[in-house]
């Protein structure tokens, strides 16, 4: 079971600096932590998605999911979020080239695309409320808004982080390794995107 990657550097001898990071595995602490956090988030979103799946058919007193969903709109906003993953990865790539200007540009574009997505979601929510589906209306409503709301909050937190990053990089006040932090936030951003890939299919495309 013992993974060689976990063990080998430790046996390599005296010099901790042999690897990119002075750690037993040679991997960055920050990145390791971020991946662990994302693994843990799988169980969070898994719980929310399961709650929705269990309750999506229980929509007494409101229009049904298939009546409510505006597939064209959601498709576009899903596409926007998907493309923000592209711009994010371009930002990471620029950061790794230590190209600050492109990094900040791509980060800004990513944040804007994210904001577009959130905007569409806010619009969608208000539409639903107009049509008679509120947070407290029924089980479908509670679980729909909780699931998509949690995702929306994740996107929003991502946007805040991206903008903070832009600010910090352009003022070049940065503790530690810039590229690595861009990469970490990128991981978070992509994760939020893949969660939406699942939500888009399970919630919107597959009718109850």
């Amino acid at each position: 079971m013992a993974d060689t990657a976990l063990d080998s550097p430790a046996t390599a001898g005296h010099d901790d600096h042999a690897a990119g990071h002075a750690t037993s595995t040679g991997l960055s602490n920050n990145k390791l932590a971020m991946w662990m956090f994302l693994g843990s988030e799988c169980l969070l979103f898994g719980g929310l998605i399961s709650t929705y799946m269990l309750y999506r058919g229980r929509h007494e007193g409101s229009p049904t999911p298939s009546q409510l969903y505006n597939i064209p709109l959601t498709s576009i906003s899903s596409f926007v979020l998907l493309m923000s993953s592209l711009t994010m990865v371009l930002a990471v790539s620029a950061a790794q080239r230590r190209d600050d200007r492109n990094t900040t540009t791509w980060l800004t574009v990513t944040a804007l695309l994210g904001a577009t997505f959130v905007g569409a979601q806010v619009f969608e929510f208000t539409e639903f409320v107009h049509e008679g589906l509120g947070f407290t209306t029924n089980l479908f409503g509670s679980s729909f808004f909780t699931l998509t709301g949690f995702h929306g909050v994740h996107v929003t937190v991502g946007i805040i982080m991206l903008m903070a990053l832009v600010g910090i990089i352009s003022r070049s006040k940065f503790p530690g390794d810039k590229a690595e932090v861009v990469e970490m936030i990128g991981l978070y951003w992509h994760f939020v995107d893949i969660v939406w890939i699942i939500i888009f299919t399970l919630v919107y495309l597959i009718p109850s």
């Binding site: 001898g13 990119g20 169980l43 592209l86």
Partner: protein, 120 residues
């Protein structure tokens, strides 16, 4: 090269501090070129297009499985390429996929118990 990477760490000669001192990353060498990322994005966009158009044509029993497969392909593509999991140390894959698989396992099992009840 990607699988060997985990071992590459301790292959580095002792005293090879250069990469570290300037904050450089051994991950540099991996991943795609910017053009490569654009191609992946186009692939994803096409899949999304397929998904959406599927909801407008009626293909009966295949609808669900196809959508689910497309979903998984998109998911894995983003994780592997944009998140570099394919190129990175496999510890990261372990951490993430163990969370993912665990989540799938427990929640599907839990949902199943609701089904079993219905059939009881």
């Amino acid at each position: 090269m990607s699988t060997a990477h985990a071992l590459a760490v301790d292959d580095a000669a002792p005293g090879d501090d250069a990469a570290h001192a300037d904050g450089g990353h051994h991950e540099h060498a991996h991943g795609l070129t910017d053009l490569g990322y654009v191609k992946v994005a186009i692939f994803l966009a096409v899949l999304t297009g397929m998904e959406v158009s599927l909801t407008y044509v009626h293909i009966g029993a295949f609808f669900m499985p196809i959508l689910l497969i497309l979903m998984v392909v998109k998911f894995v593509t983003v994780v592997s390429y944009f998140m570099h999991l394919k190129f990175d140390n496999k510890i990261f894959s372990w951490l993430f996929y163990s969370g993912l698989i665990l989540a799938l396992g427990v929640y599907l099992a839990a949902l199943c118990t609701f089904q079993f009840f219905a059939g009881n």
